[in-house]
């Protein structure tokens, strides 16, 4: 029984009629990804109307950038997407280089690529087993966090930080790889691969898991462009998109890999795409380690960063995050401070417009699998 709609298309639901309950999922709800909330009107177990409320993490980054010099923006900008901070560094560094016209030495680009792929692996190791945690299979998530720690160890060795690295700077990176780094990383990759076999058995061939995730949260193919859906969510619908292949940045055009596609476009298909992404990432890391030079210049000459007047101009920079296309729009006005840095992450549409539409008629128990399958990350909506 679906409620009537008023002239603006909003459903009319009289809460006093006792047919509907309004419940809030979040902000402190373990099934909601991050600090955001959903206002759900339900009838029985079926969701009649959903509205996303964001802004719980709004820090005004884009305002703060107006008061920060370019180099001061770096420590701030990485906090915009907490689970995967390195893409912010890369985008900001690349945008600054494009605006200022700096050429980056090839060695720096290889190391950047290594860092970005390690970051992607780190996120996927949390996300791929963790998605089963939302429907009650927490064992894989426990194991996954252990293997994620191994990658974080490598980050710590390389950059000194666990979560926030600040390793990529305009003009290059902060340093070369330590001795024996590649061997240790290769060792970890082997462990990750054998762990992924366990995950295949535990999660992806689990009957109950399939039953819970197949056929829910289906995104039709014709939503993708009007809603601006990107990344694994679009690839699960059979839509070929991967920024690394479409708009090759760094040296991605020298590596061999392909789109990871699925066609069912339900929650399980999105989980499958992420699973394939892990294999791709591990493979890419191996290729990068094999192809990168051992030595070289890792930082280009830049002006004194505290007196760096970046010439007037505007540009957009994009890269592929683990969740989809991640884009920065930068405007410089010729002063030492950026005029405007605008971030548009995949969650901006996934968690607001798409989620509100996708939850209609869903079962209330399926809210958290659907949210996790869209990989919503509130901080990048709110900034």
């Amino acid at each position: 029984m679906f409620p009537e709609a008023d002239e603006q298309g909003m459903p009319v639901m009289d809460l006093d009629s006792q047919k509907y309950i309004k419940i809030w999922q979040g902000p402190n709800h373990p099934g909601v990804t991050g600090n955001m909330s959903l206002e759900l009107t339900i009838s029985g177990d079926e969701i009649m109307h959903a509205k996303t409320h964001v802004g719980y993490l709004h820090r005004g980054f884009e305002k703060l950038f107006e008061r920060r010099r370019y180099i001061q923006c770096f420590p701030t900008c990485i906090r915009m997407c907490v689970p995967e901070p390195d893409i912010n560094e890369y985008n900001l560094a690349r945008g600054t280089e494009l605006l200022a016209g700096i050429d980056v030495p090839p060695m720096a680009d290889w190391i950047r690529m290594l860092v970005l792929e390690m970051a992607r692996l780190q996120v996927l190791l949390r996300m791929v087993p963790g998605q089963a945690g939302t429907i009650g299979l927490g064992l894989g998530a426990q194991w996954g966090l252990y293997y994620r720690e191994l990658i974080l160890d490598r980050f710590e060795e390389l950059t000194g930080g666990r979560i926030y690295h600040m390793y990529i700077l305009p003009g290059g990176v902060r340093g070369l790889l330590p001795d024996g780094f590649k061997d240790r990383l290769e060792d970890n990759l082997k462990k990750v691969e054998s762990f992924m076999k366990d995950i295949d058995r535990l999660i992806y061939s689990n009957a109950v898991f399939k039953k819970r995730t197949k056929g829910i949260g289906i995104i039709p193919n014709d939503w993708i462009e009007p809603y601006g859906i990107t990344g694994p969510v679009a690839r699960a619908a059979g839509y070929q998109t991967d920024i690394r292949l479409d708009y090759p940045y760094l040296f991605y055009n020298q590596l061999e890999f392909d789109y990871n596609l699925e066609h069912e476009s339900d929650v399980f298909a999105r989980f499958r795409v992420r699973r394939k992404d892990v294999d791709t990432t591990v493979d890419l890391l191996r290729q990068i380690m094999a192809k990168m030079p051992d030595k070289g210049d890792f930082k280009a000459e830049t002006p004194n960063v505290l007196h760096w007047k970046v010439p007037k101009g505007e540009t957009i920079v994009r890269c592929e995050s683990s969740r989809g296309e991640y884009t920065f729009y930068m405007v410089a006005d010729g002063s030492m401070y950026p005029r405007r840095i605008n971030l548009r992450g995949p969650s901006y549409t996934h968690a607001v417009a798409v989620l509100e539409k996708l939850l209609i008629n869903a079962n209330i128990s399926d809210v958290s699998p659907i949210m996790v399958s869209l990989a919503t990350c509130p901080p990048e909506i709110e900034r």
């Binding site: 402190n28 907490v82 709110e382």
Partner: protein, 224 residues
Amino acid sequence: MSEKKQTEQDKFLAPENKKHTVIGPDGEEIQVDPLNDYFCTDLPKVEAPYKGVLEKFLNWARAESLWVLSYGTGCGSIELPPLFSPRFDAYRFGVAMRPTPRQSGVLIISGYLAVKTLKRVIRSYEQMQNPKYVIALGSCTINGGMYWDSYNTINRLDHYLPVDVYIAGCMPRPEAILAGFNKLKERIKSGNAEGANEYIEKLEWYKANQKKIIKDWNMPTYNW
């Protein structure tokens, strides 16, 4: 409450919390003012601790069984899942996550607080039961940290909630958080962690600070 303030409060009220009429099952019309009728408007009272050995024993039990409200308020929440993972395993120390504020005793403020979150944090804190403890994670709860000049994040948490333990860093490593838990345990065992009673004693000051920045205060003074 003055007339002007009343209309200001009404502006922010959720539609279901506005004064309205409900038609009962027998056709009777009932006037409802949800803020006064559905919510408890009483203020809390100070609950004095017991004396002597009994309180010491109970404090030991409270310290060894810390139930944390799983509310990731900021970026520090990215380090909370690793805390319960094989490498750090906070369960060893009696720390566990609870999904509802009624059953939890520790509120971890994991990082900066936007004003909108602060409102929910206050509600969650007030829904927790005495005794309750607050751990503030990260520099941003101490003096604003990275966001000291932001228009939407608070600078010092101790003006809004009584804080038991601060853990500095941006963001603090899991080891630091574990050390913070141990510090909290020491504090509870020594009987000094009476933040809940302190909050009730200085309720007016805390409420004045909270209402200064939460401009749309559309809830009862104390959210039971």
